[in-house]
């Protein structure tokens, strides 16, 4: 019995989950104090909140973080179904202005809400025919939950709390693994890289090596050269899952195709130049994170807007970055470890999709049934016709009252990708010049100052590029 228990605990997966649960407990306790009662508000009031939130998002993207914070503070004054979303965005704003303590506190509060807050009434309403999905408490998609844990973990690591940071990076990977066929399980390289960093800080060399290996494997799987092949594999696996009544011949065909794709994948991966990732395997005490592009957005589609898709926002400004440290050394960017748009767009379906699909079918049926009754009422005439007309109108009314629109609330203050620059800097102040390029064509450059402390396990520097103000003709001012 003792031996069995030992062997279970020995299994690293179980151990990671235990560590994740144990270390997130203080985080939960810290945020629990701030939990409020859910205030019931109408759909109209929710829309008004969204209008204000949109205004705050515009201010954030215009670089006016303080003004955005003021609006978000008003939006979270009452606990509504959207509060966790606004808290996520408020935390990002605080981090953008460099208020680490407030950002950390807000993210902790959000983590508690996303994980622990459950309002039975709004959940029940959301799955009923008459309630919109957006009337339930915002819980976020896997990529949004992952980002919350990532941001919180980074802030904890910067504050010296390595153990809780490790728990956050583990929780982020668990949140990220909610996908079809487990194909894209934990391909968020930055999480594994930071996990490795925490292990090295805790002198767990074997775990450190394993996490680095996972991070490099994630980099390979999400590399632009490999992505299309992985996409094909995911599509094929999805087909297999949807076609459960496939004949033996069909199964064999799919197996052959999968075998070929795997072969192609292995060949493509073998050609990748892994020397690109060398800096992350060397010693560093500072991690510069450059915010690039805008977060992906969710859009409705389908006859009644019952389906939703996550769409990448186009990034036209730049796609290559170089960093000059103290006017001495040029450092390269490292891409492919925190591609949030990729994380968002490669995730599988949700349980709510099935609910919305059946609601849409019901709405469609009621609507067409109502139409046919109204049409036939005229032919029947008399009292019978009037009765049929009344039933038809009721059916149309039911169809109109059925709310099937998919929830498209999303954390809009996320980057498209975080570019990494691992640095080994001496304690003190440093100047970092950042140059933006459109491939090989220079776009712009600016300078930032970073203060490095030797007391921190990792100095995390978040850089949100200054906004380029353009006139009406599109010229830079």
């Amino acid at each position: 019995m003792t031996f069995r228990l030992y062997s279970i605990i020995k299994s690293w997966k179980v151990l990671s989950i235990i560590i994740a649960i144990c270390f997130t407990m203080p985080v939960v306790a810290a945020g629990a104090e701030n939990q409020k009662e859910l205030k019931k508000i109408s759909a109209k009031e929710l829309n008004q909140l969204e209008v204000r939130a949109t205004e705050a998002r515009k201010l954030f993207h215009a670089g006016q973080f303080e003004q955005a914070i003021d609006i978000y503070n008003l939006l979270i004054a009452d606990m509504t179904v959207n509060s966790p979303l606004y808290l996520c965005e408020l935390g990002t704003c605080y981090w953008a202005v460099g208020d680490i303590d407030k950002a950390k506190r807000i993210f902790m509060q959000t983590e508690v809400l996303l994980r622990g807050f459950y309002d039975a009434k709004s959940e029940k309403k959301a799955v009923s025919l008459w309630g919109a999905e957006s009337s339930k408490v915002y819980k976020g998609d896997p990529y949004e939950r992952s980002c919350l844990y990532l941001f919180l973990g980074l802030l904890l690591l910067d504050s010296g709390d390595v153990d809780n940071a490790l728990a956050c990076f583990k929780s982020a990977q668990l949140a990220d693994s909610d996908v079809v066929n487990q194909l894209y399980r934990s391909d968020f390289g930055l999480l594994q890289l930071l996990e490795a960093y925490c292990y090295s800080w805790r002198d767990q060399d074997d775990m450190h090596a394993r996490s680095i290996e996972l991070a490099l494997s994630s980099f390979q799987q999400t590399h632009p050269q490999v992505k299309p092949i992985m996409g094909r594999k995911q599509e094929l696996l999805k087909q297999v899952q949807n076609n459960k009544k496939a004949s033996e011949k069909e199964k064999k065909d799919v197996a052959d195709k999968l075998k070929n794709i795997d072969k192609e994948l292995a060949e493509s991966i073998s050609t990748l130049k892994m020397s690109y990732c060398k800096p992350i395997q060397e010693n560093f005490n500072t991690l510069l994170l450059l915010w690039t592009g805008k977060s992906p957005v969710k859009q409705r589609y389908g006859q009644y807007g019952e389906n939703r898709a996550i769409v990448k926002a186009p990034n036209t400004e730049a796609n290559h970055y170089e960093f000059l440290i103290d006017d001495l050394v040029w450092m390269d960017e490292i891409k492919g470890f925190a591609d949030i748009a990729h994380q968002a767009t490669t995730r599988g379906g949700r349980q709510m999709d099935n609910v919305l699909a059946s609601q849409a079918a019901f709405k469609g049926f009621s609507d067409s049934f109502g139409d046919s009754l109204i049409d036939s009422a005229d032919d029947v005439g008399g009292y019978g016709g009037l009765a049929i007309l009344a039933v038809g109108l009721i059916a149309k009314g039911i169809a109109a009252a059925t709310k099937v629109e998919a929830d498209i609330r999303c954390w809009r203050l996320l980057p498209e990708e975080l570019i990494l620059v691992p640095l080994n800097l001496k304690t003190g102040s440093h100047k970092i010049k950042i140059a933006h390029y459109d491939l090989i064509l220079k776009k712009r450059a600016y300078e930032i100052e970073a203060n490095i402390s030797e007391e921190k396990p990792l100095n995390v520097i978040l850089v949100i590029p200054p906004v380029v103000v353009k006139n009406k003709k599109g010229q830079k001012i």
Partner: protein, 178 residues
């Protein structure tokens, strides 16, 4: 009854086709494209060149436009690298080129005549020194191909064959051009 209807439709369609043919101009009457030198110009001491495009439309068809230009320039003895949108670049790789050839835009049109058709492509190109954000030269070039159902992959080389006949473009790719 059915047979008669089909015959009638066929007759109407044929008549419409003949009318449209009659109203179309001849190939010789279609708008022409600029004329270029007969032979390509030799680039003295060619620089290492990189090809890229910031244009979204060209990016969508980058496999048609970028390799075709690289092939044409290589045939003229100019060392070329292609930079695709998804590439993970390094500073060293960026600095390995001296000149940046930017396909700023590309347009194409189909011209139909009663005795055939043409497909034209119009490519706009800028040349930069590496690290500079000011172009050392802007060029545009036309290419023409017979037929209307043309693949862009086949069409692009017709423009590039004319591009290497432009003396100012070829001199911009020289190490000595500023």
């Amino acid at each position: 009854m059915k047979k008669q209807t089909i015959i009638l439709l066929f007759v109407i369609c044929s008549a419409m086709f003949m009318c449209s043919c009659a109203t179309l101009p001849k190939l010789t009457e279609l708008p022409s494209i600029p004329t270029y030198n007969f032979e390509s110009v030799v680039c003295e001491s060619p620089a290492n060149c990189g090809i890229m495009t910031p244009c979204q439309w060209v990016k969508k068809h980058e496999t048609a436009f970028l390799p075709a230009l690289a092939t044409e320039l290589k045939q003229q003895g100019i060392p070329v690298s292609i930079f695709y949108k998804g590439d993970y670049l390094t500073r060293n790789k960026r600095l390995s080129v001296d000149k940046v050839i930017v396909i700023r835009n590309a347009k194409w049109r189909t011209l139909k005549a009663c005795d055939g058709s043409y497909t034209d492509v119009h490519v706009f190109i800028d040349v930069y020194n590496t690290g500079s954000s000011e172009a050392i030269g802007s060029f545009d070039v036309w290419g023409r191909m017979n037929g209307s159902n043309v693949d862009l992959k086949d069409l692009a080389p017709y423009a590039y064959k004319n591009l290497v006949k432009k003396a100012d473009f070829m001199s911009a790719l020289s190490k000595h051009s500023e």
